[in-house]
């Protein structure tokens, strides 16, 4: 009794999830929620504005709509819908592609597009075979005591298009899940000449499990002869267990991947190489233009920044500022040319050695990205098959009359674009008659 009821529920659920009505509703909801996310500022794109949205909206997840459980649930339901729908349709599609049987009587020939030809049995059969074969149809024929019948199929893979596009969507979602659950995403601003362990970068998602280091040999902002920016280039080395494994120059649109971790050139800033000389101890540093970072001389409460920078390769110069403690006004400012040394508040000596680039690297591991590309490829394949490779099926039944003559009833299945099928069908008939 109980089992019976369970089965009822399973069946009920199966029926709901195999319906396209649910599919369309889900697609509509996805579109709606996605649209809302472009009206509310999203925390990952505009953190400040997102914080200014009313608390209740934030709690409900409107400012990070694409990572809310609701949105994910929608996508999950859509996937279940698509999987069940595909399972249900598989057999039918298989039968319509590989299990075609010639009609058993003239009345089972498709009758929307239908023609009757009279003629002599053998010559008609031959011309049907010739014409269909020449036009790329795969033909199956059967003989019976009443006559013969045939069915021909062309572009048979077209039938699989919709199934492949549906599965591809599930593949895409799986790829996206792999990326968010198993990967990481981080950012680092690194000065030329420095080495940092990969697990020390700032991550906005996931954790870094790898333990190699990267060394930045150089970071450059290159220009073309006409004065336009060429690209940003970073000469980067991967160091593992004290050994350099590989070295490569990356630029925007040309990343480097090592052990699943990819380094993308994403931004660039100018910086200055400086040396602080404190009590005979020399401390080298690189400070970023426009106060991107600061230097606190050990044993003092002096903070040094580079407020501006002239990046002329011949004679670089910086505008420096020194602050004391939490003071808002600098206690010392000035310009430094390359090679020049000055005294900072009697505490240490500062030498400007030259310019050095800061490279902004997006560092990411996404084990799902290949699954996503696979999904994209399947999606395209499915759509191309659906729309540019439509299956065509023609069939016919020949009924012998007196003597060798008889009547061939021939028809084609009117697909989604009846006009085109009709044209092709007419041409086939014309060719067969011409024989």
């Amino acid at each position: 009794m109980k089992e019976h009821r369970d089965e009822g529920i399973v069946e009920e659920l199966w029926k709901i999830f195999s319906s396209m009505k649910l599919g369309l509703v889900l697609l509509g909801l996805v579109a709606l929620v996605a649209g809302l996310g472009t009206v509310f500022p999203q925390a990952n794109l505009e953190p400040e504005k997102a914080k200014a949205v009313g608390q209740i909206w934030q709690t409900l997840g409107f400012t990070q709509i694409y990572s809310t459980i609701w949105f994910r649930l929608l996508l999950g339901l859509l996937c279940i819908n698509l999987i069940i729908c595909s399972i249900q349709r598989f057999q039918g599609i298989y039968r319509r592609t590989f299990g075609l049987k010639p009609p058993e009587s003239a009345s089972t020939v498709p009758n929307k597009m239908n023609v009757k030809l009279t003629g002599e049995s053998e010559s008609l059969k031959k011309s049907v075979h010739d014409v269909l074969g020449r036009n790329g149809f795969k033909v199956t024929t059967t003989e019976s005591n009443k006559g013969w019948s045939f069915i021909g199929i062309k572009r048979r893979w077209g039938n699989w298009g919709s199934l492949i596009s549906h599965i591809s969507f599930v593949v895409l979602v799986i790829g996206a899940i792999l990326g968010t659950t198993m990967g990481f995403k981080g950012f680092a601003m690194i000065s030329a000449g420095s080495t940092i362990p990969i697990n020390s970068i700032n991550v906005s998602k996931g954790t870094v499990k790898q333990d190699f280091s990267v060394h930045i040999y150089s970071a450059e902002d290159r220009f073309l002869a006409n004065g336009e920016r060429d690209n940003w280039y970073t000469d980067i080395g991967i160091i593992e267990n004290g050994q350099e494994i590989t070295r490569q120059t990356i630029s925007v649109n040309h990343p480097l991947t090592y052990k699943g971790v990819t380094f993308y050139q994403s931004s660039f800033a100018n910086g200055a190489r400086l040396i602080a000389d404190i009590k005979e101890q020399k401390i080298p540093m690189v400070l970023q233009d426009r106060g991107g970072n600061y230097f606190q001389a050990p044993g003092t409460d002096l903070y040094l920044i580079v407020a501006a920078m002239k990046n002329d390769p011949q004679s670089p110069a910086i505008l420096y500022q020194v602050y004391r403690g939490t003071g808002v006004e600098p206690v010392q400012t000035g310009q430094l040319n390359a090679g020049q040394t000055i005294d900072v508040q009697g505490e240490y000596k500062l030498t400007f050695e030259g310019s050095a680039g800061f490279t902004g690297l997006q560092i990411k591991q996404d084990p799902g990205v290949w699954v996503v590309w696979l999904g994209c490829a399947l999606l395209l394949l499915g759509l191309m098959l659906s729309f540019y490779w439509r299956t065509m099926v023609v069939s016919g039944f020949f009924e012998s009359g007196q003597g060798p003559d008889g009547e061939l009833t021939m028809g084609a299945m009117a697909g989604k674009v009846a006009g085109r099928v009709q044209k092709e069908f007419d041409r086939l008939i014309h060719d067969i008659q011409a024989k």
Binding site: M20, G23, L24, L27, G28, V30, A31, A34, G35, G37, T38, V39, P41, Q42, N44, L45, E46, E48, K49, Y66, A176, K185, E228, R229, D230, N231, W232, S251, V252, N253, H254, P255, T262, Y264, Q265, S266, Q362, I363, K364, D366, V369, V372, W373, C376, L379, L380, L383, M384, S386, F387, Y388, K416, V417, A418, G419, R420
Partner: protein
């Protein structure tokens, strides 16, 4: 930069503008007067406009030394190109001249938008940031051009369908009316489906190539930036159109409304996201993506 080429590009733009504008009026004149000469003029003007349009795009490519995709101006230029190309193909293939009266105004309005809202400094070839230097972007824009062009055509067909349907009764009493020149309802409807069937895979390819490019440039194939999100919404609308048609036989009037709705989403993806949605510019990459 070569001043001669620049002047040539400007001339090509104005020849195109004039040809398209006149062509729109000739299509209308033809529909009103049924003088075949008018119709032929309209078609020839569309061809002249397309040639000038192509020239403007190629000259821009030579001047800038890259595909024409660095700013809204260049994208709109190729958008109009796509519309006219698909239109002329359909007009030739299906002998459907009356479509011009509904499609050319779209191109005309886009060109007016360029003239009214874009200053010369927005129209010149600009230096592009490193992120835009990618071959994927070329495919991205090319597929967008063709897909959007085709969606514009299906929009025109949708309007024709609705007009013809609402005047159905008049038509019998007035067989000389403009609308009598339209093909029958079923033909318009099926053609519209065919055009969308052609464009939908292209729109998909456009979104995918955009994702591949974004992944090379920023390491994120999808970031739910408003531009991306609206292209997805557009995609879903057309997917819904295809399914509703297939399963529930949504043809005719409902299908025609869907094509109008879909094209509104196309336009919003381009204009709305750039001009109406607040606060996009704080995100560096959205400015770059905002081309398509």
């Amino acid at each position: 930069m070569n001043q001669g080429l620049l002047n040539l590009e400007t001339s090509a733009f104005y020849v195109m503008l004039m040809a398209y504008t006149l062509c729109m009026f000739f299509y209308w004149a033809w529909m009103g007067s049924k003088k075949d000469l008018m119709g032929q003029f309209a078609t020839y003007l569309a061809i002249v406009g397309l040639i000038a349009n192509t020239a403007a795009i190629i000259l821009r490519m030579i001047i800038a030394g890259r595909p024409p995709l660095s700013n809204s101006y260049e994208f709109l230029l190729t958008f109009v190109w796509g519309i006219t190309l698909v239109h002329l193909f359909i007009e030739y293939r299906y002998k459907l001249r009356s479509l011009g009266g509904f499609v050319m105004p779209i191109s005309f309005l886009i060109l007016m938008f360029i003239i009214m809202s874009m200053g010369p400094e927005e129209r010149i070839a600009q230096a592009i940031p490193p992120a835009l230097k990618s071959k994927w972007l070329t495919f991205h824009v090319l597929t967008a051009t063709l897909a959007y062009g085709a969606f514009a055509i299906s929009f025109g067909l949708g309007i024709m369908y609705l007009l013809k349907m609402s005047r159905g009764a008049d038509n019998k009493t007035n067989p000389q009316g403009v609308i009598s020149r339209f093909p029958d309802l079923e033909t318009i409807d099926e053609l519209s489906y065919k055009v969308i069937g052609f464009a939908f895979p292209l729109l998909t390819l456009c979104i995918i190539t955009g994702a591949i490019w974004a992944n090379y440039a920023w390491g994120t194939y999808w970031s739910w930036d408003p531009k991306e999100t609206w292209s997805l919404i557009t995609w879903i609308i057309y997917a819904a159109y295809l399914h509703a048609r297939l399963m529930y036989g949504w043809k005719g009037k409902r299908a025609a409304w869907m094509t109008i709705f879909g094209f509104a989403a196309v336009l919003f993806t381009f204009f709305g996201v750039n001009y109406f949605l607040p606060g996009l510019h704080s995100y560096a990459s959205s400015q770059l993506i905002s081309i398509v």
